[in-house]
Symmetry: C2
Subunit: 460 residues, 2 copies
Amino acid sequence: MAALENVLAKIDDNLDSALGRLFELLAIESISTDPAYAGDCAAAAQWLVDDLKGIGFEASLRPTPGHPMIVAQAKAKRPDVPHVLFYGHYDVQPPDPLELWQTPPFEPRIADAETGKQIVARGVADDKGQLMTFVEACRAFKETGELPCHVTILVEGEEETGSPSLPGFLAANKKELEADLALVCDTGMWNRETPAITTMLRGLVLEEVVIQGADRDLHSGIFGGAAVNPIHVLARIIADLHDAQGKVALPGFYDGVFELPEEVGAQWRELHAHESDFLASVGLSVPAGEEGRSVLEMVWSRPTCDVNGIIGGYTGKGSKTVLPAKASAKFSFRLVGAQDPEKIAESFRAFVRKRLPADCRVEFISHGASRALQLPFSSEALSRASRALLAEWGKEPVFAGCGGSIPIIGAFKQDLGMDSLMIGFSLEDDRVHSPNEKYELSSFHKGARSWARVLNALAV
Amino acid sequence: MAALENVLAKIDDNLDSALGRLFELLAIESISTDPAYAGDCAAAAQWLVDDLKGIGFEASLRPTPGHPMIVAQAKAKRPDVPHVLFYGHYDVQPPDPLELWQTPPFEPRIADAETGKQIVARGVADDKGQLMTFVEACRAFKETGELPCHVTILVEGEEETGSPSLPGFLAANKKELEADLALVCDTGMWNRETPAITTMLRGLVLEEVVIQGADRDLHSGIFGGAAVNPIHVLARIIADLHDAQGKVALPGFYDGVFELPEEVGAQWRELHAHESDFLASVGLSVPAGEEGRSVLEMVWSRPTCDVNGIIGGYTGKGSKTVLPAKASAKFSFRLVGAQDPEKIAESFRAFVRKRLPADCRVEFISHGASRALQLPFSSEALSRASRALLAEWGKEPVFAGCGGSIPIIGAFKQDLGMDSLMIGFSLEDDRVHSPNEKYELSSFHKGARSWARVLNALAV
């Protein structure tokens, strides 16, 4: 561990120069969505290539149909250590509305807050500051000796526009990018004192349903009471989709849903106090999901069904006595564990057909399906990273879930066969995508130290 | 009855001249919705005033903020006979699309069809031809002797635009328009051979419901499963509004709903064969209403609840993983018998509130309410008119219901305290409001004879 102590000391010593480097990167207006800033994106990419070369990485700028990627590689001295692929992105959201920024978004500065020093600039939390925690950890290893793992770094410049070039790039460079484990630094801490490892992402099944009754809109005075109303049929289906306990009523829906390991469940119950805050932040107070589950389970580890949109009949001002010919709704199912998206889509369609009156027809439109992703709780990498974060922060990391999907994690799993370890240091109040985006100086400093500990732990 | 025989013979003798008069009226382009035809509307009104004066009515053209009304009065010799108020309208729908007319819409002609001769022109069935059946009956009485009842004739020129001037006119001329019974000739026969008296109109309660959950739209990945979804809440309310037997589940909803008299129920059951035609005409086959009720009951004499429109969340193309802040629906209740619109609106609001999760708010918007109107089946006028129609057609008239509302009938009841006897001679295939509108010559001829018999029967 003597080597690790040296690396951590080097990170401490380097803090001022590390901030100088980060400020250089933050000053580049790499706004990916606006073609006017394509040159800035290329400049940010080139800055990273140069910096990584400076540490001793073999780094290159790789053209894509959009903004360039960066691929950098460096080997550990020992051949039999794990190979990790680190992913980040250098592009940022537009800074609008500019007038709400206290200082210009691309003129980074250190601000003093009650809770400590903060770095303020567009993209500092999402994702330039986070990305540089990993680079600074690598730098400290190289400056004091050797990397403990083989490291590939992949940085893209289109994350904020949906990563359109990424799937093609992964497919075309599969061999070069293969590794044992992906490391991603684009998520958050549990709170200011408690680190988190995001270990699960829910999957998604998107189904649209169009129910057709009569062959035209009818006058509800003339036909009302005798002709089937597709809105009623759709409402019955939606109402039937949840039972009185808030569980999803599709046959077979919970096949492949696993209960949390007891220690994770216990951890989440301890975090229970978060519930009211989470809902209060959007004007709610009562968890609406399955009875007997905590809010964290509801949004991280339990599957759900939601209607994202519904329309039928007259929806303008006032009234119209129409009995509509059709009604439609968009359904989304969030999946967890080993739930099978295809089986769930099939079960849903059968569920709808079973409730269809003789006089109705139904059309189904699929808008995509993806499995849930879960780093096994028993994974060796997870427990090593967990111990490393405990050593840095003095607190066990929260094994967090993520209710939404992060496409890159799915691509790593499906295209490159890799699990991902998602460790990030941003906080809920970092104002990501908003004016005055900030990143705690402690996140930046202890983030770099955390990566040093994690890389070391993965290799030992 | 000798006098009636003379009147009927006079109507037969007058048929050619009656057609000539009708053609004059049909040739006037009295399109009420288009200001360019205001002069034509006034001309049609003046034509009617002149014609009614010619018969011996005291008739005048009465200005309104829109197109003029006609009020005409003639007394019977005997003072102790009933006083009837006949209502019709001289305005017509625009004839567009013109290219679909086989001959110009305002050049009336007689066409030969397999089923007999037809009069073809815009407005002939709705309502000029129907209106003139009554005028021709009055003419024949006057030409052979005296009217059997005191008769007031009210003809308006704004029926096709929602009768905006009528309520004000009724209020301002209440005394002059009061009568024992209103006669309206703007409805249809049951079929080519069978007359009908429309004895009931359903009432209407219109309620819009807006359900609000969170204070903003949420990401369904982040909040899905924990945050209440207003679309689900609304769907549950809609699903709960009908029980498994198709009855409306609002507490107290059926208070004031009466069963049909046995003879009317039996008549409707005999007409049962109509069911499949009625639904097949719009691509349906299975009655969707209350179990154990015929289609005619469902649309004429039973109350209903329908959702006329619903909207919430994302309704564009593709998918969006939004958990919407609000969802809304427009509900209509068709009322019958003595159902109380205010009580039903109140029961509905309580029903919705009872199903509202703690985290939701609801807003109610009323779009109006009206009672059902029913001519009592035991009414003397109804049985007299019924016998008169049997004598003319050789078939018992169908005591029909009308699923929709006809505002003038409600106004007669509420503002003038009068029941209405709705007898008309149009057929389902008359192409009302469509190109090549027609009216059977037999409807015109036997319609006039029917009114002669009805007026006579009311007085005897």
